[in-house]
């Protein structure tokens, strides 16, 4: 049983870690979910004993209820985080029509270049707060029309 559980944790964690290396945000989020579930399974395995369900202890040996409570809490927390990250990914999709993280950074770079050349941030792609280019003052200064972005 221990072997099966540890194999399960390992496979879940490995698959999650593999997905997290992808550029696609959705895959990345699924990777996060898999890793959370690996952690939940690990908690369950931390207190694994053979016994009756710990609801009405009727004489027999019961399983450890504490790990189940912990797992439930951890599940709820990862549920909340997943919902949050999905909505964030959705916002990214709305503003970029893409959930590829390379697209996102390319949009950011294009934004920075445009700011540099023209000094006029594109109102469509809400601009970065400042550019990465050299040149003493402009780098740290807020763009003059920062308010116009929102």
């Amino acid at each position: 049983m221990i072997l099966a559980l540890s194999l399960g944790v390992a496979v879940l964690f490995g698959a999650g870690a593999y997905l997290m290396l992808k550029h696609d945000l959705i895959r990345l989020i699924i990777g996060m979910v898999l890793i959370s579930n690996a952690a939940n399974l690990f908690i369950m395995s931390a207190g694994l004993t053979n016994g009756a369900a710990p609801i009405y202890p009727l004489g027999d040996e019961t399983t450890d209820p504490l790990v189940q409570a912990m797992t439930l809490t951890a599940i709820v927390i990862s549920f909340a985080v997943t919902a949050l990250v999905l909505s964030l990914a959705y916002r990214v999709y709305v503003s970029h029509l893409s959930v590829d993280i390379r697209e996102l950074s390319r949009a950011e770079e294009m934004q920075a270049d445009r700011d540099d050349e023209v000094g006029q941030p594109d109102p469509e792609k809400l601009g970065a707060p400042y550019t990465d280019a050299e040149g003493d003052r402009r780098t740290v200064a807020q763009p003059p029309n920062k308010e116009a972005q929102r």
């Binding site: 609801i55 959705y90 503003s95 029509l97 893409s98």
Partner: protein, 164 residues
């Protein structure tokens, strides 16, 4: 996907699912079940409506607009079960009635702190589930306009090839 059969059964299933959720919530003290699973079951009932009838459906159902506020109500109820005993000079989450005393009953339902807490948890989970679903569904409508907007902007820039 949206044949008449689906539509009818989705509608028929709505109220029984909510009843099951209620049952799971109040039975959770001697049998498996609690506020959390009840909240998930109840939210699933609305997820089914959303799947079958499309994104606009949740706004058409009565009172659904106010369900997300249940999160706050539930949080406050759960917090009260924690902090009311502390105001009365006991430790946080002290159980009422104290061990050994009998609880007031209504049929088989016992009124104890744990029930109040579970009602709070139910409201949080239910409100959260339905709130997330309905806000995603509502955003779907906004998405269309936004898609057009960005596509227009990209076409104007002459880099429409970037859209994946």
């Amino acid at each position: 996907m949206t044949t008449e059969l689906y539509k009818v059964s989705a509608r028929i299933l709505l109220l029984p699912t909510l009843l099951v959720a209620l049952g799971v919530m109040v039975k959770g003290y001697a049998d498996p079940g609690d506020g959390f699973s009840a909240g998930v079951i109840a939210a699933l009932a609305f997820a089914l409506q959303l799947m079958v009838f499309g994104p606009g459906e949740l706004d058409r159902l009565p009172l659904i607009r106010y369900v997300p506020y249940a999160v706050f109500l539930g949080l406050i109820i759960s917090l009260l079960t924690a902090f009311v005993p502390s105001v009365m000079g006991q430790t946080l989450f002290t159980h009422w009635p104290p061990a050994g005393d009998s609880a007031p009953r209504f049929g088989t339902l016992e009124f104890i702190t744990a029930v109040a807490f579970d009602v709070g948890v139910f409201l949080i989970v239910f409100g959260f589930g339905v709130g997330v679903l309905s806000s995603f569904a509502r955003a779907e409508g906004r998405m269309r306009t936004s898609e057009e907007r960005v596509a227009r902007a990209r076409a104007a820039e002459g880099e429409a090839g970037n859209t994946t």
